[in-house]
Symmetry: D2
Amino acid sequence: MSVAASPSSPLQVRQWLNSQAPVTLESLHGRVTVLQVFQMLCPACVSHGLPQAVRIHQLFPNERVAVIGLHSVFEHHDAMGPHALRVFLEEYRIPFPVGIDQADPGSRVPLTMQAYGLRGTPSVVVFDQYGRVRLSHFGHIDDLQLGAVIGQLLAETPSHAPIGAAASAAGRRSSSPCADTGCGLDAPP
Amino acid sequence: MSVAASPSSPLQVRQWLNSQAPVTLESLHGRVTVLQVFQMLCPACVSHGLPQAVRIHQLFPNERVAVIGLHSVFEHHDAMGPHALRVFLEEYRIPFPVGIDQADPGSRVPLTMQAYGLRGTPSVVVFDQYGRVRLSHFGHIDDLQLGAVIGQLLAETPSHAPIGAAASAAGRRSSSPCADTGCGLDAPP
Amino acid sequence: MSVAASPSSPLQVRQWLNSQAPVTLESLHGRVTVLQVFQMLCPACVSHGLPQAVRIHQLFPNERVAVIGLHSVFEHHDAMGPHALRVFLEEYRIPFPVGIDQADPGSRVPLTMQAYGLRGTPSVVVFDQYGRVRLSHFGHIDDLQLGAVIGQLLAETPSHAPIGAAASAAGRRSSSPCADTGCGLDAPP
Amino acid sequence: MSVAASPSSPLQVRQWLNSQAPVTLESLHGRVTVLQVFQMLCPACVSHGLPQAVRIHQLFPNERVAVIGLHSVFEHHDAMGPHALRVFLEEYRIPFPVGIDQADPGSRVPLTMQAYGLRGTPSVVVFDQYGRVRLSHFGHIDDLQLGAVIGQLLAETPSHAPIGAAASAAGRRSSSPCADTGCGLDAPP
């Protein structure tokens, strides 16, 4: 895990799913971008990486934080082709654009994965508003830590909306003294 | 939930546990401070609020992020006195300082809880490096969101250490192609 | 953990909470009985033992499986007295009768805990329809294993109702092909 | 969900994986058998059904409880062929035999799924020692309930080994008063 800024290679993608047009890093400038790199038959991607990316997509305003996926297959290529991936994305209801990493005829590792020096899946890469890599992490990363990196980069990005706005409904009053979400002052002691 | 800065009232604490000396907001200036407000017999405090505070204490460098607790009893005061709290903190291995919110003779709600306008427990209050309240939230708050607020405030706070350093061991190489933490490139395909 | 039958000592209880009348093993004859032994400030009791007991109470028909609690305090007695316990049971919404294990003037370990040879909390003791101890287990026990013991003892107990009846609503049809609970045949492929 | 005994149709399987020889219900007589019916791209199968089957495989002695899987594809057949399934079983480390349900040229629903009247995936079917269906359940089923059915059927099945033996190591003594697994008597109060 490193947070130093470095210039980014372009995403080398054969095909985009869940998107009408190809996605480029340039088109995401001005937003913090979270790139979730996965394989559809990688258990930790399914149980950890992708659900975390979906939560980020749901919790942060999309005009400030973009989430995209990258299917970077480096093993069992014939079981994880474009059609199988399309079914997977539908069944798992993945809501954000997913690119298929471009194969390298001379290597089992696809081109974007090589260019970013990724060590496996799941990996998460976070770009700042200028498209520079600020975090690249392989394996499990805690929500608190990943949230802190996103918050740090949001603080650098000009905006008119406060970043906590998406959570405004979370603390609404409970009718009983101790509900699942907490013990409210309103009820009789 | 609000993130606007506002001047902070002092913590009105009868007694500090897990701390040799009283804790003041002034003594925490220069650090982001997370205040976890709880009652020891509040189920959501035990299952959500306190474990989240302990994770923050473990994941972020303490010289940059301070975590403190506040025991703000507003119901069943006689079952949650100082001795019971001391036993609770020991059994649950709470590692950070915990203050006992000062009782108000004229109200069941203690003084700090009143001054901060808190609506129940668990509540989390986050202060910036100048001791100003930047987040006050009652009930469940997602790790990603709370992490983002911490990251935003860390970005405003000067430091020589990168905020991701604590996660440096998380992505170490796995010996099998698909371990619990992910699928590594190193193993044969 | 042992499953051999053995004659049972009576429960030596100072006071019953959540119950209009004292509970005796004799009054439970004809039912499988699950006794959850806990301390209100024991973390694993709060996170594992008691929630498991509540699930058993909810999932099995009460006329076939009885669930009762026993508060067996062997440390920090002054922080876990009857009043504090009453508050705890209310806040945690424990729905079944809970007895307070009778103190022994000559020992910190209360009398029922001694008589049953229990080694700590949480412990679960399961009685067959004749009130004989068939399982006594200290610490974490998997739901599948505890369920199997209950099922084994139910098989020995005459009844007119099938044991799976409580689950009859669980498999109701889903309106989408792949919902959280599964992929249904009904929807279009 | 039903627990009444009924005669069982044979498993109509095109190919067995994770098994040197075909598996028949007859070959499993004398054991309680748990059949996990799934599709490899069904989210609830991956998050709930298969992990539950793996836990059963690990917790109960295999000479008393057999666990087998059945891949019953009724949608997206071309994305879940035998090769993809083989990769899936390897990546997810499924340890028990898995049969591929025989396709029906006249229906999208395969033959065994039809014969057993299953409504979708995941489904679990439990057979008694005589190979009769005693439980057939579609969707989520609680570990306690499924464990109770297994325990009930084990009680009908002659054996020399007590069913709790697999849990014998679970309650070992803890060195601290309140560890993650519970509060032990041994430590000083």
